[in-house]
């Protein structure tokens, strides 16, 4: 099956600092690819590139075998991909209004049934009409996830979706991610610091260091038989940079 994304010689600079420098990376349909690595490795920048939110300085991103022109991304392509960011940025208004937002952007006015279903799935039903600014961190992150899931994106990008959350919320969000992947065959890229989470959720894991992909492998191989010394050190919990 053809990859959803094909990244080739992709670079991104912030000033003179190269934050992404990926020689080659394919992301396969329906897989959960976890990207692990220390802070500042370029993981979040990679997600913004995959969501076409900022242009690369070099190289190409092919989406379904078509090279993407970042300055003229077709709306259909843009809307195939959604990100849940580490810090959930919710719109003012109610939880329900936040969930309906993406649907309304697409001209879909009647999303009440979908909203009710997703709220129930994420244990948010009683917060349907609550103002977004009154939510706790865990609730806000669940709303952010629900707002993305309601769109049934072909690709879901998750940037530390459970960072700073309690075990209940971590378990809930992980189970929803797993269900979505299995039921809808959504392709997911999960950026996480948490190697245990990567192990629990991912089909493949990639280690990113200084903007480069050091190693990408099936989850079992990544953790049990890593090829690169830096991956071995990372898996052992040692400091790598």
């Amino acid at each position: 099956m053809a990859p959803v994304y094909e990244l080739s010689r992709l670079t991104r600079l912030y000033g003179s600092r190269q934050v992404v420098n990926i020689n080659e990376l394919d992301i396969l349909p329906g897989e959960i690819l976890a990207v692990v690595g220390p802070s500042g490795a370029g993981k979040s920048t990679l997600l913004r590139l995959l969501n076409f939110l900022e242009p690369p300085d070099g190289g190409t991103v092919r989406f379904h075998q078509q090279a993407v022109d970042f300055f003229h991304v077709p709306l259909q392509v843009q809307r195939s991909v959604t990100t849940v960011f580490q810090n959930p940025a919710l719109l003012s208004g109610s939880v329900a209004a936040n969930l309906q937002f993406g649907l309304r952007l697409r001209g879909l006015r009647d999303g009440h049934k979908a909203v009710a279903e997703i709220l129930e799935r994420l244990g948010l039903t009683q917060l349907r009409d609550a103002p977004a600014h009154t939510l706790s961190g865990g609730e806000a992150q669940r709303v952010a996830l629900a707002r993305a899931l309601i769109l049934n994106p072909e690709v879901l990008l998750l940037d530390e979706p459970t960072a700073n959350l309690d075990p209940y919320n971590v378990e809930l969000i992980e189970s929803v991610i797993r269900d979505l992947n299995q039921a809808h065959k959504a392709t997911m890229v999960l950026v996480t610091h948490n190697v245990f989470q990567a192990r629990r959720l991912a089909d493949r894991v990639a280690l990113m260091l200084n903007g480069e992909i050091v190693e990408v492998a099936a989850t079992q191989t990544f953790f049990n038989k890593p090829r690169d010394a830096r991956t071995r050190a990372f898996v052992r919990g040692e400091m790598v940079w």
Binding site: L75, Q78, T82, F85, A89, L91, G102, A148, L151
Partner: protein
């Protein structure tokens, strides 16, 4: 003191009795400042939103011009518009229908648009700039077009935009220099509250001056109360 008290009583009586002279002045004021605010909003909100969201070379220079424009003295604006529209001016001799003539309501509206627009642009720019960049990124990630990002950002900044409009209205409803110079304070035609207060005070006709003064103060108070309440809701 007696004059002032008598003036207040007479002024209130004129106001509540529906005095036609007073109400004509109020109507012209509402027409001039209302139209000027509407035009300033149509021009200023999109420009302010664009300035708040865009980064380009020369932006700081434009920002400095806008901030200078926010403090334009109305008499200077009046003088500039007068010089533009007079028969010896830049636009006056062209005799085009779209160019307002001096001593008309349209000339007064033009002057007030020049006063209010930089305020609307500046406050809108600031309000839009305060919307979190993360939220804008999230909105794009949810599939918004450029226009949808702009409209969502404006919606999120709506209190600031409303305050921009209130600030614009406050600046033009109470100004006297520009409307006096380009409107000429013609009875029944271009006389507004501020120019009428000036004239009636000079004439010693304090009742009407105080009646208008009370009304103007009341409007200014309501405008500032609305702004304070909106700011309070924002925090």
């Amino acid at each position: 003191m007696e004059t002032i008290l008598s003036g207040i009583v007479q002024g209130l009586r004129l106001f509540f009795s529906g005095d036609p002279v007073l109400w004509k002045i109020i109507a012209v004021s509402a027409q001039v400042s209302g139209a000027a605010l509407l035009i300033s909003a149509v021009l200023g909100i999109p420009i302010g939103a664009w300035m708040g969201l865009s980064r380009f070379p020369g932006r700081r220079m434009i920002q400095a011009f806008i901030y200078t424009g926010m403090g334009l003295p109305p008499v200077v604006v009046g003088l500039a518009v007068y010089l533009l529209l007079s028969n010896n001016g830049l636009l006056g001799p062209l005799q085009q229908t779209w160019i307002p003539k001096l001593f008309t309501v349209e000339a007064m509206i033009s002057a007030q648009v020049i006063i209010a627009t930089p305020l609307v642009v500046g406050y809108t720019m600031s309000a839009v700039g305060e919307v979190s960049p993360n939220l804008r990124l999230q909105v794009r990630s949810l599939g918004a077009t450029r226009l949808q990002v702009l409209s969502t950002t404006l919606r999120e900044a709506r209190r600031g935009v409303l305050i921009a409009l209130i600030g614009g209205l406050g600046s033009i409803i109470s100004e006297v220099g520009a409307v006096q110079m380009v409107g000429g304070n013609i009875d029944g035609s271009t006389r507004v509250m501020t120019t009428a207060i000036l004239l009636e005070t000079r004439r010693g006709n304090f009742e009407l001056a105080i009646g208008l003064g009370i009304l103007l103060l009341g409007i200014a108070f309501l405008i500032n109360l609305s702004a304070a309440q909106l700011q309070g809701k924002g925090h």
